[in-house]
Structure formats: structure tokens, C-alpha cells
């Protein structure tokens, strides 16, 4: 049974992406008791799946390393992975949270040696790589995963593979009898940091993501560019493995669109500018946009990319994509609105700069909270001691999400400090 020692002075952080991690660490490093509940088997969230950050083009794993070190060293922080908050009742200063913990089938004895993965045979789509590659039924989600513990896919439980994994483990870390647990504990304040998910590109029907192999999403392109990713960093076409010579980026793929996401997802312009730097200089890059939203000093980066000879910008929302059946090239149809030029442009690969959608569906928040039209949490006083952090509050870039999360931690601390003052 997972034990959690928590009181009304404890801060519960829901979601262990960069916002939740930040809120949790900042509060813990201010001396507060923090319980962090993360749905995935590891913390770090979506930034762990990014190859580089804009505009510095530095590596997200660099900051992840520091944050994970902070987490490992801090006794105030208790991380519960593979867990979801199913209910929160009470009021600021006195909440009771219900948390469902899924079985990992691997206990803390695990040394991440990898013997179990070698032993099992079943393979599954690798969600860490957005399904671009395969992983084993016993797996470490990614190399830097924290906790550094393997996971058994529930689909292998009850199969020979499960037993093989267990037999292969020399440190008795595999426990096939592990069951789902439901626990309850107290908290004085809650930081809600459930983040975002990429908009489902299948819904953007004119772009044929579901029909054209060489139309991919920006999050997939990010994995492809990563040398530690499924293609070893090679930018190749899904249809034939050919190295790409021309790439088109389609902005607002799902964003600023009443048929999809009403809001501007803020990050996609910068993300595409960043991704435009991934291919070699010989690769022709076209960015189809409505407005390039490079905020504040990101303007420098926009100008830098704009100055690149191989990058061109077309002010146009692409109308449709049709596959050239002979060569698999997606052909983009539309009108360049700067002076009205009609185009039918073929590219080797098309990247849809998909928007950010709040992870939690409007209807299924397990806590009473004020949500706006777009599904983001409003900074409403009625939310009591529940504070949104990061992308659960708006489409934010990493920097702003972290900034926002630090503020959320502050709000939570105010609540538990008030509890401490009255109880103490």
C-alpha cells in the first residue's frame, strides 16, 4: 500500500510536467511538504519529448536533469507516479484528495538494468515517441525517466511475457500481483498543473493527416529530429524513408479556428521557427502562416530564421492537402494572401503545427473549478485553494509556464501558511 503522510499544511500538485515539477520543487525548497501526483510513469511531462527549446536551441533534458536532481535530493517532496486524482473535496486549507494509482508491476528494487526488457517479446507503439517507434512490454519510458524504474505494460500481465520479465529480474523488482490502489489524503492547497495535449490532427480533415503518410505533426517532427529519437535524428519521410529535401510547416493547425481550437496556441509559431532550423541548410522550408506571433525578444529569433536563405514565409492558411500518388508528395493548395497568389506546392514532408489543447476535458475535472470557453482554468477566486499552473491556465511556452507555476506555488503557500498560523 502506498503511504502518503499529508496534512492540511501539505500542498498537492496535480501533474508532474514542467509546470507541476516547478511548483512542487519551488514549494518544497521553501520548506513546504509537497505531494506530486503524475499520471505517467515518470515526471517531466511533454518537455521530455522535446528535442530543443526555442529560441536558444538548447536541450530540455538539461533543465530536466537539474529538476530531477532537485527532486531526488529534496525530502519534502513525495512523487507518486502512474497516479491520477479522481476527486478533491473540501475547501481551501482543508481538502481531501482521492488518488488512483495504477500498478507499475515494478517495485523500488528496480535498478533499471534492463534485463526484463530483454526478456519480453511483445512490442507496443511507443507513446513517448508519439507512436513513431516501438517499445517492449517491459520498458523504461525514456533514458532519463525519473523515477528510474521500468514499467510493465498492463497488456502483458497474465501472458508468458510477464513471467519472463519476472524470471529475468535478479533483484526481485517485478511484482505481478500489484493491484490498482485508491488512496485518500489531506491537503491544504492544490496546484493544478495537468498541462496540455497536442490537438488531434485527424480532426483537421483538409490536411489529410489520417490519409497522407508524409503529413505529420509538429510533436512527431520533434521526435524525429532528436538523435535519440525513433529515426536517430534523421529527417526522413514516413512513406519511403527518403531523406527530406523540402519541408512545409502549416501554422494554426487546429488553432485560431472555430472548427477546432478557438484560441491561439501561442507556441506554435516559435516552435516552427525552431523546427525550421533542424534540417540542413539545403533543405527548402516553407512556413504557411496567418500571423507570426513572435513575442518580445523572440523577435530576434524570428528575424534570424527569416534571414535564412532556405526559409520562406507564405501568408496563407493552407486550404487543403492532396497527395501526389506518384511520389507520395503532399501538394498544398491555397492562396498567398499578400497580393493574391494561388499556389499548388509540392513538398517532401508537411509538418502540422498542431495546437495546444488542455489535457483535462472540460466535463471531467474532478474538482470544482472555473473553466473558460477554451477549456482553460480561469484565475477565479471561487476556485478557493486550487490554483492552476502552466498550460492548464492558458497556452503557454515553457518559460511562461514555469513563471506561472512559480506564482501558483506562492498562492498555495499562502494558503498553507494561513493554516499553519491558525493551527500553529
Amino acid at each position: 500500500m502506498t503511504e502518503v503522510i499529508a496534512t492540511n499544511e501539505t500542498i498537492l500538485v496535480v501533474g508532474g510536467g514542467i509546470s507541476g515539477m516547478t511548483a512542487a520543487l519551488e514549494a518544497a525548497e521553501t520548506g513546504k511538504q509537497v505531494v506530486l501526483v503524475e499520471k505517467r510513469p515518470y515526471v517531466g511531462g511533454r518537455v521530455t519529448q522535446l528535442y530543443k527549446y526555442f529560441p536558444k536551441l538548447c536541450f530540455p533534458t538539461c533543465g530536466l536533469e537539474i529538476n530531477q536532481r532537485r527532486a531526488k535530493m529534496n525530502p519534502n517532496l513525495n512523487i507518486i507516479s502512474m497516479a491520477e486524482v479522481t476527486d478533491i473535496k473540501g475547501e481551501a486549507g482543508n481538502y481531501t484528495a482521492t488518488v488512483k494509482i495504477s500498478p507499475r508491476y515494478v517495485n523500488e528494487n528496480c535498478t533499471a538494468c534492463g534485463d526484463c526488457a530483454k526478456a519480453v517479446e511483445a512490442e507496443f507503439d511507443d507513446e513517448y515517441n508519439y507512436g513513431l517507434g516501438k517499445r517492449k512490454g517491459a520498458y523504461l519510458p525514456h533514458r532519463m525517466a525519473h523515477p528510474q524504474r521500468y514499467v510493465l505494460d498492463p497488456a502483458i500481465i497474465g501472458t508468458d511475457d510477464a513471467q519472463k520479465a519476472k524470471d529475468a529480474c535478479k533483484v526481485n523488482a517485478i511484482d505481478l500481483d500489484m493491484q490498482e490502489e485508491v488512496i485518500e489524503f489531506k491537503a491544504g492547497a492544490v496546484v493544478w498543473a495537468t498541462g496540455w495535449k497536442p490537438y488531434d490532427a485527424n480532426k483537421i480533415q483538409p490536411y489529410g493527416y489520417d490519409r497522407i503518410a508524409n503529413v505529420i505533426t509538429s510533436v512527431e517532427f520533434e521526435r524525429m529530429a532528436d538523435p535519440n529519437g525513433p529515426t536517430g535524428g534523421k529527417l526522413t519521410r514516413p512513406s519511403d524513408g527518403k531523406e527530406v529535401k523540402s519541408v512545409a510547416f502549416i501554422q494554426c493547425a487546429g488553432s485560431r479556428d472555430k472548427n477546432h481550437l478557438l484560441h491561439c496556441s501561442r507556441i506554435c509559431c516559435m516552435a516552427s521557427l525552431k523546427q525550421a532550423t533542424y534540417p540542413a541548410d539545403e533543405v527548402a522550408i516553407s512556413i504557411y502562416y496567418i500571423d507570426i506571433r513572435a513575442i518580445d525578444r523572440f523577435e530576434d529569433f524570428y528575424q534570424k530564421v527569416k534571414a535564412k536563405e532556405n526559409v520562406k514565409f507564405i501568408k496563407s492558411k493552407v486550404a487543403s492537402i492532396v497527395e501526389n500518388k506518384e511520389n507520395g508528395n503532399p501538394t498544398l493548395h491555397g492562396v498567398d494572401t499578400e497580393g493574391y497568389n494561388r499556389y499548388a506546392d509540392e513538398h517532401d514532408l508537411v509538418v502540422l503545427a498542431v495546437g495546444m489543447e488542455p489535457s483535462v476535458d472540460k466535463a471531467s475535472f474532478p474538482v470544482e473549478i472555473t473553466i473558460n470557453e477554451e477549456g482553460f482554468i480561469e484565475p477565479a477566486p471561487e476556485n478557493g485553494g486550487v490554483f492552476a499552473a502552466g498550460c492548464s491556465s492558458d497556452a503557454l511556452d515553457v518559460n511562461r509556464a514555469v513563471q506561472h507555476a512559480t506564482g501558483a506555488a506562492m498562492r498555495a503557500i499562502q494558503v498553507v501558511n494561513r493554516v499553519a498560523a491558525t493551527e500553529g
Binding site: G31, C62, T111, A112, H263, C264, D291, I292, A294, N417
Partner: protein
């Protein structure tokens, strides 16, 4: 008992270590060579049972120093977190067996590697002490907020709400700053469909009612002395009185100033009174007091207005701002809606290139502006011709024509400039300029430096360092509050151009960092990125030559000088990077658990085989933030590393003492590889210049090599990123090849 040191070694045989290595021999190495008083083996040291064994020894046998020979120091951290002892880890798993093939022919060299790592860990442990806070700290909960605009007011309210007393210092006679004089603000709550009420009056009331906040109006800081937890700040009023307050941590919210539109003659600013900036328009809207907005020249009610976006910004023209104010498109929508509200049938056109209204609120507000019949035109204005009716000449990018329109009033959406103090590194920028143009730019910044805001009594200048364009932002995407002056956090548009909502979020975050800094200073704990580290540099005064390198090179301005030029450390300003240690030519600076000696002892305790053994030794000094994790991941991925390599993690390449290199060469190492972070403008070093400094220092290694008559290729420094999982091992293996090519070092005794 308390002073008695007791060294205990623990060798793990789990994870295949037992099969691949001779554990008995390792134990012997630990006790015989490593001089451990005891050494125990365990088949899985990280298990509850293994950990308990160590705990028991600490509790019952008075063990004070623990050497764990198992996996990497990055693994099983929680299990091996013994805070009451000095601790070292010999990395036998990721460092040895995972990077060496499991074959008979490699058995000997693999064992040698493991034995060496045990010797190194033991030697390190011998010269280490358990770090502990000096005990001189006490908790000072006072927070100083500099600047009484919306950011400062918010920071004050938030810190006070957490139970921390605040001194809020404002230069002018009222709180409210720039926003205080606005008619309305960009909406911050859904449905984002109309300009919102100005929040300043409510904030003023809240501050007035807050017993925890002391407001100092008409006041500036004339002196800020001390360090987090013990700042002593002189607050002087205009009238000449000075109050000294004791402060735990500081938030600088000194805000922004509007761009000087006199640099935009093409838009007739200064030539026509009816050309105003967005900032000036707020005053016109307020002056209208609910009636129609009137134009300045003749008081005529404005019937048509044109907004020119990006006036003097996002442009590399002389005198223009290269960056974007982030908020000015939203501001123009807001202001266009003023006209719709106050001036009835008023035509409003916004000429923009890229309309930057991001996020949920931004896009909603754009639609609201359109719905209110604000005309948006993708157009680039080239000229405003003054006259009774102003003529705006522009290129309509959609209709693809040069055109013009007439209007009563032109509003220039100009940018924001930060209200920061002088950059402490302005002189350095001049000195290090790579070309004349850059030098001239740097010189101009130095000469036009603004007056100080904080008046820090720091060896390295009076104010927060600038990142770019005068903004005092953090350099790090993941860590927006990573400051180069510990315990001092900037917030709001002095840090980065931002809107009101972001400024308020930022203020709240900065308030957290401030109370955190105050709390940690009281416990002697380091701030980010070595959060919680209790180790602290001290120096041997008798050895010090007052060369001042440490005080100059400290990236955080942590070290002052006394009158004689000796360094004066400030524990709570220090970030524990060891740059001072690397800087010190006479090796008098050390931390309890990280010093010239701890590394030197590791270097010396590697067994250097005789020349005829043909077993070279390569020393690898790897940054613990990036290169070392990259090597760990390489091990995980089964990438081979040459068996001659011996890797020592360092806090930062900036902490690398030149003596380690010379000593290693003198001891017969055949090659030295140093791995630090990226060091250009987009540097990755959390200690700012550590990697760059190392590169600079190591450029002098050539002389040493010359003197020793050694080939220059034997010492090499690389920039390595955490993602260099293949490359980092390759760099080591490359050195092995180099050594093979040029031959072994002659310095083997």
C-alpha cells in the same frame, strides 16, 4: 567522539557487478589502498536492507565518512541520501561494467578501472568533510520590493499574504506606476471582450489595509549592503531622511519607460500634435472623462484614428528597438475600443504586419476588436504627412498597393524599454568586444548607463546584470527566476516586455523566490541550481596573494574585497559553483566536500601503469550537469568507453584548477579531456561563464605542455551537451586514439 573520523566502504555486487568484477579484490582495494577502516559487501546495496546496514553503521559504529561503490551518483540518490556523513560514490556500474564489453580479454582492464574508481572515491573521501551550515544565519523574513507599479504592488501583496513583512519603495509620490494612469486595461478574465477596469485603485486599497506592508513613497535606495538574509538597505526620501532597514530578500520591479518617439520623424511625431504614442493616448482617454476623446491640436472630437503598429520596434534601423514589446497589438485593440466606446461613429484602423495577440485571451480580444468594427489591415506605414487631417501613407499587403488614408489622429504603437540600473558587466563588454562595431555599441551602453536602482555594495557593480537590450531577464528557459545576484529577483517589464497579467503572475513568482531565498539563507542552503547544498567556500588567508581573481570572476558577485584586497565571502550570495576555486592560482579556496585537494587526490590515486605495460591513462573532467549525465546515458545505451579513461565529475568546468591538469600530466597521464557546457551567447552553463572561463584558462595549458615537452593534443576541452550520448564517449575514445598515435607520456614513474 564528535571529531573522530571513521571511514567505511560499501561495495555492491548487484546489477551484474558481482559477476563482472572481483568483489573481494575491490574490498581489498578499498581497505588496503583506500584506507577504509571497514568495507562491507552487499548483493544489492540500494535495497532497504542494504541501506539499513549503512544507516546502522552510522548510528551504531560512528561512521562519519561513507564510500559507496555501486552505480552512478545520479542513480539511487534517494536511497543513498545520508545527510549526516561525508559521502562519495565510486561509479562501477555506469562508469565501468556498462561501458566495457563482457569478455575474457577485457576482464583485466575492467577490473583495473573498477579498482581505480574505488581508490579515487576513497582518496576523495579522505580529504572531504561533511558540509554543514556555518550556524551564523538567522531568519530575516522582511522582503524589499523596489518599484510601486502594478508589478511591485502585486509582489508586495502576495509576499505579505504569505506572512512576510514587506517594505515597498516607490520613487514617485504615488503607487500605481505606468498602469496607474491608464484609462482601462486589457481584459484578464474570460470572455476577454472589452477593456477592463483599471486594477490599480483596488490594489492601492489592499496595500493601505495591509498591516504587513510598509510603503516608502518618494524614496530610493541609496545603499544595499550585505547578502540574502542580512541585507542592510538605506531607503532615502526626497526630503533627505534616510531609514536603514534589514531585509531578507529583494524584488526589483522597476518597470519600464516608453520609447522616445522623437526618433520617429517619418511619422510626424513632434511635427504634429495629433500624432501621439500609445502611452500618451491613455492620458487623452482619461482626460476625456467619459466623453469623446479629443485631438490635442484643436480639441476637435476624433472621428477617425489610425494605429501604426510596431512604430520604432521590431526594426534594426538606427534608434529603433529590435525587439517587440509583446503587448502593443493588444494595447491598440484596447485603445481602438476606447474610441468605439467614447467617440461613437469613429473609424479606427490598425495597420499591422503580424498581429500578435497570443493565447486564449489574445485571440478572443482580437475577435472582440473586430466585432466592435475596428478595421485591421495588414499594412506597413511609411509616412505620416501632417496637416489638418493627417495622411498616413502605407502599403496594403493584402490589396498589394501603395495607398494612403486620412485621419484625425495617429497613434504610434511604440515599444517598451526597461527601467534597469547600469549593467555591472558593461565595462567587460567593452573589453571583450570582438570588433569595432561591437565595441562602439558596448561603449555607448557604458557611457549612457542609467543611474543605479539598487546601489548594491558589491565588488561587481551596483545592479542586476542585463541579459539583452537592458532587460534583466534570466538566461534560462526552464528557470525564469535563475538570477545572477542571489536573493534579488527582478519581476515585470524590467525583466522582459510583458503585459499586465504576465507582470502580475511574474510578481507572484518573484515573491515566492524572495521568501524562499530568505528561508534558505537562514539555513545556509544554496539557491538554485545547487539547491540545498550546505557546502561553502572558505579560503586560507595566509596563502592568499590578494590577486582578486576570485572576486572578479565570481559569476554571482558573491565575493567582496576587504581594504587589503582579501576576499570576503558571502555565504548566502554564493551558488557553490567553485569558479573561485578554479580561479585561484594559489589553491587556497575550498569547499568542505569539493576542493583542489579532493580532486587532486583522485587524480593521484589512479594507478599509473609503467610505460612498458602500454596502458595509458586518460583523465576526464566532466561537468556534472551535462557531460556526466550524457556519459551515464551512454552507459545505459551500452556505448563503449575506452578502458584507459578515468572520469571525475566537476561542479563546473569553471571550478577546474589548472593545477589538476599540470599535476595529472606530471603524474604520467597520457591525455586529458575536459567536458563543459556550451559557451557562446546561448551558453548553457548555469554558472554563466564557467565553461568559457575554463576555455580561457586552459589556453594557457600550452605553456605547461611546452615546458614539459608534451604534445598539445594531450589536453583538449570540448563543449558537450546532455544529449551527446554518442558523442561524449566518442570524444574520450578519440583521445585514446590520439594517445596511441603520439605515444605514451614519458612522465610515468
Amino acid at each position: 567522539m564528535a571529531d573522530e573520523k571513521k571511514f567505511a566502504g560499501y561495495v555492491c555486487s548487484g546489477c551484474g557487478l558481482g559477476e563482472r568484477l572481483d568483489a573481494g579484490q575491490l574490498e581489498t582495494t578499498a581497505t588496503r589502498d583506500g584506507k577504509m577502516q571497514s568495507c562491507k559487501q552487499h548483493e544489492m546495496l540500494c535495497s532497504a536492507e542494504g541501506v539499513q546496514m549503512i544507516k546502522d553503521d552510522i548510528a551504531n559504529d560512528g561512521v562519519t565518512h561513507v564510500m559507496i561503490a555501486a552505480c552512478s551518483r545520479r542513480a539511487k540518490v534517494e536511497a543513498f541520501n545520508f545527510t549526516d556523513v561525508a559521502l562519495t560514490r565510486a561509479n562501477l556500474r555506469e562508469g565501468v561494467i556498462w561501458v566495457r564489453p563482457d569478455t575474457d580479454e577485457n576482464k583485466e582492464t575492467t577490473q583495473e578501472m573498477a579498482d581505480d574508481y574505488i581508490r579515487m572515491a576513497c582518496a576523495e573521501l579522505k580529504s572531504m568533510a561533511k558540509p554543514s551550515a556555518s550556524g551564523e544565519q538567522s531568519l530575516n523574513k522582511n522582503i524589499l520590493v523596489v518599484g510601486g507599479g502594478i508589478t511591485g504592488m502585486t509582489a508586495a501583496i502576495e509576499a505579505a499574504a504569505a506572512g512576510y513583512p514587506v517594505h515597498l519603495v516607490e520613487k514617485s509620490g504615488t503607487l500605481g506606476g505606468a498602469v496607474g494612469s491608464y484609462y482601462k486595461v486589457i481584459p484578464t478574465r474570460s470572455p476577454y471582450d472589452a477593456p477592463a477596469e483599471n486594477p490599480i485603485p483596488a490594489l492601492r486599497e489592499a496595500i493601505e489595509a495591509d498591516g504587513n506592508i510598509t510603503v516608502h513613497l518618494n524614496s530610493t535606495l541609496t545603499k544595499t549592503d550585505g547578502a540574502p538574509g542580512r541585507f542592510s538597505v538605506d531607503i532615502a526620501t526626497e526630503s533627505g531622511t534616510t531609514e536603514t532597514v534589514s531585509i531578507g530578500a529583494i524584488i526589483q520591479a522597476s518597470g519600464w519607460k516608453p520609447y522616445d518617439a522623437n526618433q520617429l520623424p517619418e511619422f510626424a511625431y513632434g511635427k504634429s500634435q495629433d500624432v501621439v504614442t500609445n502611452h500618451e493616448l491613455e492620458a487623452l482617454a482619461v482626460a476625456a472623462s467619459g466623453g469623446p476623446i479629443k485631438r490635442p491640436s484643436d480639441g476637435k472630437e476624433v472621428k477617425s484614428v489610425c494605429f501604426i503598429q510596431n512604430a520604432g520596434q521590431c526594426s534594426d534601423k538606427d534608434g529603433h528597438l529590435t525587439y517587440f514589446a509583446g503587448v502593443t497589438d493588444l494595447v491598440s485593440i484596447k485603445q481602438a475600443m476606447y474610441f468605439k466606446e467614447l467617440n461613437g461613429e469613429c473609424d479606427t484602423t490598425i495597420l499591422f504586419d503580424n498581429l500578435r495577440t497570443p493565447g486564449a485571451g489574445g485571440e478572443d480580444f482580437y475577435r472582440a476588436g473586430q466585432n466592435a468594427m475596428v478595421t485591421f489591415s495588414k499594412g506597413i506605414a511609411s509616412e505620416v504627412v501632417p496637416g489638418d487631417s493627417l495622411t498616413v501613407k502605407f502599403e496594403d499587403k493584402i490589396l498589394n498597393e501603395q495607398t494612403e488614408m486620412a485621419c484625425d489622429l495617429v497613434v504610434l504603437a511604440t515599444g517598451m524599454e526597461p527601467n534597469s540600473g547600469p549593467d555591472p558587466y558593461a565595462q567587460l563588454m567593452v573589453d571583450e568586444a570582438e570588433d569595432e562595431e561591437e565595441k562602439a555599441k558596448a561603449q555607448a551602453i557604458l557611457e549612457n548607463a542609467p543611474p543605479s536602482i539598487l546601489n548594491l555594495q558589491y565588488r561587481q557593480g551596483t545592479d542586476l546584470p542585463h541579459l539583452k537590450n537592458g532587460f534583466t531577464d534570466s538566461h534560462f528557459i526552464c528557470f525564469p527566476y535563475e538570477t545572477r545576484r542571489t536573493g534579488i529577483y527582478s519581476a515585470g517589464p524590467v525583466r522582459r516586455p510583458m503585459d499586465i497579467q504576465q507582470a502580475r503572475d511574474d510578481a507572484t513568482g518573484a515573491a515566492l523566490k524572495a521568501i524562499q531565498a530568505a528561508e534558505n539563507a537562514s539555513l545556509g542552503r544554496a539557491a538554485h541550481p545547487r539547491s540545498g547544498d550546505l557546502s561553502f567556500p572558505s579560503f586560507r588567508k595566509e596563502g592568499c596573494t590578494q590577486c582578486k581573481r576570485c572576486t572578479v570572476e565570481c559569476p554571482f558577485g558573491a565575493i567582496n574585497e576587504d581594504e587589503e584586497g582579501y576576499p570576503m565571502y558571502n555565504e548566502s550570495r554564493c551558488r557553490r559553483c567553485g569558479t573561485c576555486m578554479g580561479a585561484c592560482p594559489v589553491r587556497v579556496i575550498s569547499f568542505e566536500n569539493y576542493s583542489v585537494e579532493t580532486v587532486n587526490q583522485q587524480i593521484k590515486n589512479v594507478e599509473i601503469p609503467e610505460e612498458w605495460d602500454e596502458k595509458p591513462r586518460i583523465l576526464v573532467l566532466a561537468c556534472e550537469n551535462d557531460a556526466y549525465p550524457a556519459l551515464d546515458q551512454a552507459a545505459q545505451a551500452g556505448v563503449e568507453i575506452n578502458p584507459w579513461a578515468r572520469v571525475i565529475p566537476v561542479r563546473c568546468l569553471g571550478s577546474v584548477s589548472l593545477s589538476w591538469v599540470t599535476d595529472a600530466l606530471n603524474n604520467g597521464y597520457d591525455g586529458i579531456v575536459m567536458m563543459g557546457c556550451r559557451r557562446d551567447d546561448d551558453y548553457q552553463c548555469h554558472f554563466v561563464r564557467g565553461s568559457a572561463m575554463a576555455a580561457e584558462r586552459m589556453s594557457k595549458v600550452g605553456d605547461t605542455l611546452d615546458t614539459l615537452n608534451l604534445e598539445p593534443e594531450r589536453v583538449i576541452l570540448h563543449e558537450v551537451a546532455i544529449t551527446d550520448v554518442e558523442r561524449a564517449p566518442q570524444l574520450i575514445n578519440d583521445m585514446a586514439e590520439t594517445v596511441e598515435k603520439i605515444g605514451l607520456s614519458p612522465f610515468k614513474f
